[in-house]
C-alpha cells in the first residue's frame, strides 16, 4: 500500500475516515477536528515531507450530507509523491481551521474557496473576496447558484 496513507492512519487513527488510491492518486478523507495538526505532521514527518501545498479547493455535493468538501493537494519535493486530503463540512457549519500557519502559500487558495463556496477558514488573516468584487451577492460555484444570473453593474470603485 502507500507509505503516506499508512503513516497517516498510524498517527491519526481517529481522524482518518477512509482512504483509497483510485486512479493512482492517494486520497484520505479526514475529519476537520485536528486538521492543522494533521497537515503539520504531513509537512514535517521524515517519511512524508510534504513541503508543497499545491492546491486547495472546495467542492459542493448538493444533495449529499455533509454538503461541502475541502480538498488539499500536497506534493513532496524530495520524496516525489502526492496526496489528496479531503474534509467534509456540513452546510450550516462550513467552518474549518486555516492552514496558513503550515504553508503560507495556501493563503489565497483559502480566500478563493471562501469567495466561491462560502467556506469559512477560522484564523485566516484576511478572509475577503478575491476573484469577485465586494458587493457581489452569493457564492457562485455552489450548485444552487444559477449560472447565468446577472449582477447589478456597480459604479467605479475607489
Amino acid at each position: 500500500m502507500s507509505v503516506v496513507l499508512d503513516r497517516l492512519r498510524e498517527r491519526f487513527p481517529a481522524e482518518v475516515v477512509s482512504t483509497h488510491s483510485d486512479f493512482g492518486d492517494d486520497t484520505a478523507l479526514v475529519r476537520r477536528e485536528r486538521i492543522v495538526e494533521l497537515l503539520t505532521f504531513l509537512r514535517d514527518d521524515p517519511e512524508t515531507l510534504f513541503d508543497f501545498a499545491m492546491d486547495l479547493t472546495g467542492v459542493d455535493y448538493l444533495g449529499e450530507e455533509p454538503r461541502f468538501e475541502v480538498v488539499y493537494h500536497l506534493y513532496s519535493l524530495e520524496k516525489k509523491h502526492r496526496v489528496r486530503i479531503k474534509v467534509r463540512l456540513h452546510e450550516d457549519d462550513p467552518v474549518i481551521d486555516s492552514a496558513v500557519s503550515v504553508w503560507p502559500g495556501i493563503d489565497w487558495y483559502e480566500r478563493e474557496a471562501w469567495d466561491m463556496y462560502g467556506i469559512v477558514f477560522r484564523g485566516h488573516p484576511n478572509l475577503k473576496r478575491i476573484l469577485l468584487y465586494e458587493g457581489f451577492e452569493g457564492h457562485p460555484l455552489r450548485k444552487d447558484y444559477p449560472k447565468a444570473k446577472r449582477q447589478p453593474t456597480i459604479g467605479p470603485q475607489e
Partner: protein, 164 residues
C-alpha cells in the same frame, strides 16, 4: 483637395472639415484596452508582420486623455466594467470605439454570472470585429472602417445612442 467622396448623397463637408478629417483619420491614436487573448492578437497587429502603422494608427497611447480610438479587446466582466466606463468617459471628443472579439461584442461563449454580455451594454460601439480571436487582419479592417466613417462624415455610434 481631392479625396474620394463615396459618401451618402446630400452630405456637403466644408473644405476645412474635410481637411481636419483627413488629418484625423491618418493619425488615429488607439487606446488598446486589452484584457485577454485578443490582446495577443492586438500585439500581433502592431507587430512587424501585420504592421498597423501602415494605416497611421501606430502611436499607441496608454492614457485615455491622449487617445481617440478605444480598442476593447477581450472579455469584460462585471468587475472590469466600471473601469472601462471610466476610461471611456475620460477620453476627449471625438472618440470612436472598436469592439474586438466575440467576448467584447456579445460576451462570447461565456454566458454566466460574471461576464458582461457585450460592451455595448455600457458604451456606444462603432465597429465590431467578430472572431475568437480575430486575425490581426480583422483589426486592420476595423481601423480602415473607422477611417471611412471619418471620411464620409457618417454619424458615430455615440451620436446615435445617447448612452451616458
Amino acid at each position: 483637395m481631392n479625396h474620394g467622396k463615396d459618401g451618402a448623397p446630400g452630405y456637403a463637408l466644408t473644405t476645412l472639415e474635410s481637411l481636419v478629417n483627413w488629418g484625423r483619420k491618418y493619425s488615429l491614436y488607439p487606446f488598446t484596452f486589452a484584457t485577454a487573448c485578443c490582446g495577443i492578437e492586438v500585439m500581433g497587429a502592431f507587430g512587424t508582420h501585420y504592421d498597423l502603422s501602415r494605416f497611421g494608427a501606430e502611436v499607441v497611447r496608454f492614457s485615455p486623455r491622449q487617445a481617440d480610438v478605444l480598442l476593447v479587446a477581450g472579455t469584460i466582466n462585471y468587475k472590469m466594467a466600471p473601469v472601462l466606463k471610466r476610461i471611456y468617459d475620460q477620453m476627449l471628443e471625438p472618440k470612436w470605439v472598436i469592439s474586438m472579439g466575440a467576448c467584447a461584442c456579445s460576451g462570447g461563449f461565456y454566458n454566466n454570472y460574471t461576464v458582461l454580455q457585450g460592451i455595448d451594454k455600457i458604451l456606444p460601439v462603432d465597429v465590431y470585429i467578430p472572431g475568437c480571436p480575430p486575425n490581426p487582419e480583422g483589426i486592420i479592417d476595423a481601423v480602415v472602417r473607422i477611417q471611412k466613417i471619418l471620411e464620409t462624415g457618417a454619424p458615430r455610434a455615440a451620436d446615435r445612442w445617447p448612452i451616458k
